[in-house]
Each structure stands twice: as structure tokens, then as C-alpha cells.
Symmetry: C2
């Protein structure tokens, strides 16, 4: 592994979420942190010190400086969602590969600007939904696509909640919904629903931030999915998928429970409950960084799969937002 | 127990569902079968023989004959739902206590005729939702109403499916929805939702029978429940309740898995998964019959609780049916 090409990361933004990724970049054998950019050089230095960034990492008081650094191959963007489009597009234009926190953009129009910039520069794009890269997810997918074990999918329910009190600054229909919709789309092998209908009257705080919300999604063949997200409820990271032959459930799909060395999912097959523990030597964030770097360093043209997954997720988020704003009307989802 | 007053049952209708109740009546120490009525005396005799009814049980080729038998204190009505109103009202008018299979009626107007007849005759009414009588349900209710363990309820999902192929003669929005809605109402301590919205485009067969359907329910304080029922999916009997402090899940709430001597439910409290096994010496059908007979034989005025539970369940069923018939509009639920 030592001879593998290292992708040199510039980190844009020193929010809490970036700590996990800084560690993941250190753990991934094909990645290194070569620059940290924040609004001031002091903040960048503090972040680098607290997160054991290599001593060689350059510390910048601007994001532009990171993008202009020829020793940066890729950026990891941990800025607030509203700033993603600006910095992701600029990064791509400067030929940096782009790993961007979710929610990726405020809407699909913004996301499309990012994807177009990445495509036109020939750089790799990926959003930082790390659970998709855990081997457990691949095992779940095997079960979900097995006509003998799950059969035909009939319904899905997903519940993602993290209690952050009454004053979150991000809608529950942000991170939590991104995960929920990603999980639902995993169960349908990324076939988009025909339409979505938001549940009436989501809970909002005084600033208008959505605290709890949900929606039903339907497919042409009768499949139904529902999800519920909340910033008020106790932590939940559940997926339940019901088929004609069996069922799947997982209770920690976003972040495996820390005490589990081999996180599990459960299937019911022929009336038997089966626990599947799936081990991983590296945490899922590091696996994600590894995969991103493999693609970025492959020398071949970028893998489009992750752009498609992001875009489908965003289209469903947008449709649910539209449903909420249009009196909980049913909104068609069009790719 | 031997000296306890025995309630003498007349069974109306010899459908498959009646077999379980015949056994339950035999097991309950305060109940006995004194008559069986079917469309022909031969059918009644065959049922009595197959189900070990007492040799003293009278076998009638009509339902009227059962109601006219002075040795019958109570009837158990296992006829098709569309016939319930006629025979339950007549039974009540003839001063028989009424235990009636669910779904109880085709709509709340019919149910109200049954309840009015029972009230006016002073006889006990109960629908045959046996899981409500398992001690596990009482334990679940303790958790659900505990502000320190569940906290405030935020969302509920319920999935009840039994695969019966493409040609069921009863809507999935019959038995399965009755159980689902009953479970949802258990979690809200029978507070009715403000409104319900059916999921678009339920699956139906050529005869128009609903094969799969679901709905979202909302309460004034922001609580949300969803349920999904299917006659096509693999067996599921799941309730998931999410609170601000903890969560509940149970996977066999309708009929405990046969291999479980002490059926379980699970709670998450302070990030710990706890399994609660709740034993019962008698099957839940027999517990239900016992409770019904205790009430019927108490000599005091009938217990109204079970009429209220039935009526609330029926009102939600009716609202969901109305939503389906009115293009998946949101329908208010009014008691």
C-alpha cells in the first residue's frame, strides 16, 4: 500500500463535521492532508493541531489559496450547504477532485452546476455519505436484490432522528432526510419514485427551521416508501424493507453503533431471523476516502455513479420541499 | 376456578377464524360452548366435531335458533363482516352478550347500530382483537406512557402483512388495517388523529379488492403515524414507536411467533437495547374470552371501554377509506 499514489487533500472549512473526515484521510492509505483552509489562518492552524494533521500541511486563511495550491489534488468541502456550489464549482474549475459534505446543495439546479463543472474538468465527484461505503451496505444490497430472499420489494420505512433540541440551524429535511432518501433509494436500486407527498404540517421552530417531517413515496409498480426525520426524537437510524419473500432491518445504518465491531443487519428469510455481522478494518469514512482516492488517482475518466446517486437524492429532497411548500400536494419526480 | 360462573357461548358462523375461538372458549375457565349455529345443522355438527366442542353443545342449522336458545348467554360472531350488524343487533336485542370478529362493521354507522343495541340491552360488547389482551400489550403500554423511558411520542410506523396471494376476498384494509390502526391508537393512548391521508394508488386486484394500502395520520401536536398493510408481502406484524427519550419495537404484535413461550418486545432506553419477554399461561385468545366473560358475568353494568376502542378504530378505517375514494385527500377524523 505504501507505493500507492497518495491523493493530497485540501480541506475547505473547519466545521465539526470536518474532524471525522480529517481522521478518515489520515487512516486511508492513499490519502494525505496537504492543506487546510478556513476564514482565518489561525482557525486553520487550530484545526490542524486539534486533528493531528501532518506538520507539512499548509494552513491558509482563505479557501481560494487552497484551490490555487498546486500540491492539492482534491478538496473536501465541509462548508455550510449554501456555500457548496460556489466552492465546489471553483475547485472543479481548478482541476481539483471534489468530495463534498451532504446535503450537497440547496437544490438540484445548484447541484447540476457542481456536476457540470466536475464533468467539464474531468475531475472525480463524490458526496460524503460514508455509510454507502461500508461493506455492510453492499451485503444489504445483495439481500435486497435477491429474488429468493427478499423477493419483490413492497414497502420501505426509514426513520432518521437525532435529538439536537429546539434550535438546530439545519432543517431536519437536510442531513437526516439526505440519509433517509439515500437509504430508500438503496432499496429500490436507485429507481426514482414516480411521486412524493409530504406529511402535513411538519414541526418548525420560530425561525422556520423544520424540526420534524416526513413523506410517502410511490413507484409505478405499487411500491411504497415512507420516511420520518426529526431533530427532536431520540436517535434513530432505522431502515425496514418488506418484500414478498423476506424482510430486512437495520438500526444503525448511518453510523454503526460504536460498540459493534462488526455492525449488523437482520433479515427474515423463510420465517427465520438471521443476524449478519459485517466487519470492516477501517471506519466507513476512511473507506469512503479510499474509494474516492482510488477513483481520483486511477488515471481513467471519472466514475459517474456517485454523481447520479447524489442527483437522484437531491431530486427527491427537492420534490418533498416542493410538496411542503405547495400545501402537501403530490409532486412528480422527474430525472 | 371451578366454581366461577361459566358464560355459555353460542358460536355464529363456522369460518376458519372461529376454530381459534372455539379452542379459546374451551381453554378459558369461565366459558363454555353451549351452541353452534351455521347455515345447515350438518355444518354445525362438522365444526363441533372438528373443534372438540362439548357433547352437550346444541347444533343448529340457523343463527336465529342460537339467539332463541335460553341456554346461550353470549354469542361469538364469526360471520362475514357484512353480516355482523344484522346478527349482532339481533343478539343484543335477545340479551346475549356480543363478542364479534373484526373488522366489526363496514363503517361506523353500522358499528353504532351494534353499540346502541348492546347499550340498550345492557349486554357486554367486545371485538375479537385478541392481542390487546396479552399481558405483553399492557407492558408495552407501560413503556409507551412513561415520560422517562419513551418520553414524548414523536412518530409511529406499523406494518401488518400476510401473504394470501392475488385473490383474497377481504381488503388488506380490513383485518390488517384493523390491527395496524389498533396498534397506532395504542401508542397514542387512544387519542384520535386529527386527520388521515391515504397513500396514493393502493394495489387492487381485478375484483377491486385492495391488496396493499397505507396512510399517514397526524395529531395536532405534530405526532405522525404511518402504516402499510398488504396481502402480497411476506408476513409482518411490526410496530415501531419513536419518542424523545426512547423507542419501542415489536415484531409479532398480532400473533406472537409460535416458538416464543414468552413473546418479546424491545425498547431502547438511554441507548441500551432491552428485551422484555412477557409470559402468559393461556394464549391471548383465551385471555380475551376470559376477560369478556368476567365482564359479562360480573352482574354490574357493561364495561364501555371496548366499545370506545372499536369505534375509534372504525372511525380511522372509515376516514382512510374516504381518503382513498376522494383522490387521496386529507380527511378529518371526528369522534
Amino acid at each position: 500500500m505504501a507505493e500507492q499514489r497518495q491523493i493530497r487533500f485540501g480541506i475547505l472549512g473547519c466545521a465539526t463535521v470536518a474532524r471525522k473526515l480529517a481522521r478518515a484521510i489520515s487512516l486511508a492509505p492513499n490519502a494525505t492532508i496537504s492543506a487546510v483552509g478556513s476564514s482565518t489562518a489561525e482557525k486553520a492552524a487550530a484545526f490542524a493541531a486539534e486533528n493531528d494533521c501532518p506538520a507539512t500541511a499548509k494552513l491558509y486563511g482563505s479557501y481560494d489559496a487552497v484551490l490555487d495550491d498546486p500540491d492539492v489534488d482534491a478538496v473536501y468541502i465541509a462548508l455550510p450547504t449554501s456555500l457548496h456550489v460556489r466552492w465546489a464549482v471553483l475547485a472543479a474549475q481548478k482541476k481539483k477532485h471534489v468530495l463534498v459534505e451532504k446535503p450537497v446543495a440547496l437544490n438540484a439546479a445548484e447541484l447540476d452546476l457542481i456536476l457540470a463543472a466536475c464533468e467539464s474538468s474531468g475531475v472525480q465527484y463524490m458526496d460524503a455519505t460514508s455509510w454507502m461505503h461500508h461493506p455492510r451496505t453492499a451485503k444489504m444490497k445483495e439481500f435486497l436484490s435477491d429474488p429468493l430472499r427478499l423477493g419483490q420489494l413492497k414497502s420501505v420505512h426509514c426513520n432518521v432522528s437525532f435529538s439536537v433540541g429546539e434550535t438546530p440551524d439545519v432543517d431536519a429535511l437536510g442531513d437526516n432526510a439526505w440519509h433517509s432518501i439515500g437509504a430508500v433509494l438503496l432499496t429500490t436500486d436507485y429507481e426514482l419514485p414516480e411521486s412524493v407527498t409530504a406529511f402535513r404540517d411538519p414541526e418548525v421552530n420560530e425561525a422556520g427551521v423544520i424540526l420534524s417531517c416526513g413523506a410517502s413515496l410511490k413507484w409505478k409498480d405499487g411500491r411504497v416508501a415512507t420516511f420520518y426525520c426529526s431533530s427532536l426524537a431520540d436517535m434513530a437510524m432505522d431502515i425496514f424493507a418488506y418484500g414478498t419473500a423476506g424482510k430486512l432491518r437495520v438500526h444503525d445504518f448511518v453510523t454503526p453503533f460504536p460498540e459493534q465491531s462488526a455492525p449488523s443487519f437482520y433479515t427474515f428469510e423463510s420465517y427465520r431471523l438471521i443476524e449478519h455481522g459485517v466487519n470492516s478494518e477501517l471506519p466507513q469514512d476512511a473507506l469512503m476516502v479510499m474509494e474516492f482516492c482510488n477513483l481520483a488517482g486511477s488515471g481513467s475518466s471519472p466514475e459517474k455513479k456517485w454523481a447520479v446517486v447524489s442527483r437522484k437524492t437531491q431530486l427527491v429532497v427537492d420534490a418533498i420541499m416542493a410538496s411542503i411548500h405547495k400545501g402537501f400536494e403530490t409532486i412528480e419526480v422527474v430525472y
